[in-house]
């Protein structure tokens, strides 16, 4: 393993912030994994750290395939993580909205540029992504539909679900989108947590990435075969909105199979305690997302259900 500083930024009041990469093997740039780009992506950094640890073992066993190089970057933005901010410390910009970056531009454009120069040219790229919506998700892999994508690649992660997303205008400045434009087959991998660590979904993510690398001839490792992946488009996800604000008590969790008419949750008045609404599933399906905060707003997305 070779640990190296990929890019460094100076602050007038702090130690420099180094973006550190862990390189395994030598040769063809086969696989790159990027973890936390936002200061609250603790789980994403954690998954990468477990991956580094696992790859160290595989390297000791001689199980990195000859001629293959792997790069893991656990944390791009620990300046924000160390002070409990989500976005960039000074101007609150999002590094993952600055790609491909610009070396003469603003600070986060320079960070994006510095990182992107180091991670171009890999055959496969995985970003450990997070949602802005608060809630539990089934671990899954997502691919942004561009002219450069191949849906079948996603099945090698062995996760139960793989999503294909049509890019929105604001997606065009993300790492994932630009990786694809520059020739890397890029995926976003989502686990069940962001601000805190969820061991079981972290393990699912690490296993999925190792499984992908095994199937693509990058490492040799013993890993279970995972799931038969179902590739689904956005039209299969049905969103359940809250009709009213209040305190939400859920009766289902992610992964639960639903029949049309099953009770999903009750919403109670936050001051008087009366149940003011009951929400039922309109379809047969599987709970893919569940809002997990006690207080919810009118029109909050409470559930996303994969239609059977």
């Amino acid at each position: 393993m070779h640990k190296q500083v990929l890019y460094s930024i100076q602050s007038p009041y702090r130690q420099p912030m180094d973006i550190i990469g862990f390189r395994f093997g030598k040769g063809e740039k086969a696989m790159c994994v990027v973890g936390a780009m936002r200061g609250n992506e603790i789980q994403q950094m954690y998954v990468c750290s477990r991956l580094v640890s696992r790859l160290k073992e595989l390297e000791r066993e001689g199980s990195i395939c000859n001629g293959k190089e792997i790069m893991i970057i656990p944390c791009v933005n620990y300046y924000s993580m160390n002070i409990g901010k989500r976005f960039w410390t000074m101007d609150n910009t999002d590094i993952n909205r600055m790609f491909p970056g610009y070396d003469m531009g603003e600070t986060t454009q320079r960070i994006a540029d510095g990182l992107f120069k180091e991670i171009q040219g890999f055959t496969y790229g995985v970003q450990l992504a997070s949602f802005y919506q608060q809630g539990d998700f089934l671990p899954h892999v997502k691919l942004m539909e561009t002219d450069f994508t191949n849906h079948d690649d996603m099945t090698d992660f062995g996760l139960p679900y793989a999503f294909v997303r049509t890019p929105r205008p604001y997606d065009t400045t993300t790492l994932n989108y630009n990786w694809q434009v520059w020739g890397t087959k890029a995926f976003s991998l989502y686990t069940n947590a962001t601000d805190n660590i969820d061991e079981s979904s972290a393990k699912i993510a690490v296993d999925a990435i190792i499984r992908f690398m095994v199937r693509r001839g990058i490492v040799r490792a013993s890993v279970n075969s995972g799931n038969l992946t179902e590739i689904i488009g956005e039209e299969r996800l049905v969103q359940i909105h809250s009709p009213i604000s209040g305190i939400c008590k859920s009766y289902v969790k992610t992964g639960d199979e639903l029949r049309s008419g099953d009770l999903l949750c009750e919403i109670s008045d936050p001051l008087e305690g009366d149940v003011i609404s009951k929400i039922f599933s309109p379809i047969n399906g599987t709970v893919f997302f569940r809002y997990n905060r006690p207080l919810e707003f009118e029109k909050s997305v409470l559930y996303k259900i994969i239609k059977l």
Partner: protein, 314 residues
């Protein structure tokens, strides 16, 4: 008349409300049937538009007999952001100006965005007022995407701003209020002026005078208007960005909106620990400074100034 045009329930005993003040004229002439919208408060730290909205409403209400048509004023389309000095939408950490046109099938923010678009759509002109951010001070200017330049420049010239910046199209900007309205047939002008978290009275009054001049040109205002200034239009001229390469605090030595020679001293980035000048910032071209750094602390890459290059305008 004040109306809530979009709302949603917050968790505990409160609703977020987006309010519109509709002022309808009482001119004795044949009704023009025209409507102008003034929108601001998309970013909670941009406050210059508050004064413009209030001043415009005050003048109109005092002179209803001279107004022929309707002026809709939306002072805060991100009311929770303004109330909590948060640039984006609190809780969601979302930039309100990246979720348009919105959708009724989306989250609360996207649903509100759709209701806002729906309410403004069909107006003859919409003026979307921004005030930079806390880092940069902007001379009153209109920003126009190149794809709508031909249509919008004649209206932009009416607004009494100093500068019209025609910028290239960027896909990411397709989620803005202005882009969404312009592409669905409602002409929308984006004003940038002043600096975040402040009210620069002089700029606000300048724009208010421009709004009344526009109303006059649209046949909606029968009162007097001030003589308005002729803006510089970026056209073929380049806009040079001056970014800091060093970290420290920046102290300017030039005024805002002045002509500058290539190589001329703009200011210094100073190391606060040693007092050493970490970088002497100079102009990369001759031209006029229309953006100047206001917030002193800089990292490598922080924007110091923007210069409209090419020629002097004195």
């Amino acid at each position: 008349m004040t109306t809530v045009i979009a709302s949603a329930g917050l968790a505990v005993n409160e609703r977020v409300e987006i309010r519109r003040n509709r002022i309808t004229g009482k001119s004795s002439k044949t009704p023009s049937g025209k409507r102008v919208c003034i929108v601001t408060g998309t970013h909670g730290d941009e406050l210059e538009g508050q004064y413009v909205c209030a001043d415009t409403a005050r003048i109109l209400n005092e002179n209803l007999s001279q107004l022929n048509g309707t002026v809709d004023i939306y002072p805060a389309i991100n009311p929770l952001g303004i109330d909590s000095i948060t640039r984006g939408i609190p809780l969601f950490d979302l930039d309100m100006n990246r979720i348009f046109p919105g959708t009724s099938e989306g989250t609360m923010a996207e649903s509100l965005a759709m209701d806002i678009i729906s309410d403004i759509s069909g107006a003859d002109i919409c003026i979307d007022i921004h005030s930079s951010n806390i880092y940069l001070k902007e001379i009153p200017q209109i920003r126009i995407n190149e794809i709508t330049a031909d249509e919008l420049i004649p209206y932009a010239k009416m607004l009494n701003c100093d500068f019209i910046w025609i910028h290239s199209s960027a896909t990411v900007l397709e989620s803005t209020l202005a882009f969404s309205l312009n592409t669905t047939g409602t002409k929308t002008l984006v004003v940038e002026m002043g600096v975040g978290m402040r009210i620069t009275k002089e700029y606000c009054r300048q724009l208010t005078a421009g709004i009344f001049n526009m109303l006059k040109n649209l046949g909606m205002w029968e009162g007097d208007v001030e003589t308005i200034r002729t803006p510089i239009i970026s056209g073929e001229r380049t806009v040079e960005f001056v970014n800091s390469d060093a970290d420290g605090f920046f102290v300017p030595c030039v005024e805002h909106w002045v002509d500058i020679e290539k190589g001329e001293h703009i200011g210094d980035v100073i190391d606060p620990l040693t007092g050493r000048i970490a970088e002497r910032v100079t102009a990369p071209c001759c031209g006029r400074i229309f953006t100047l750094r206001e917030f002193p602390i800089v990292y490598g890459g922080s924007l110091i100034a923007r210069i409209l290059g090419g020629e002097h305008n004195a």
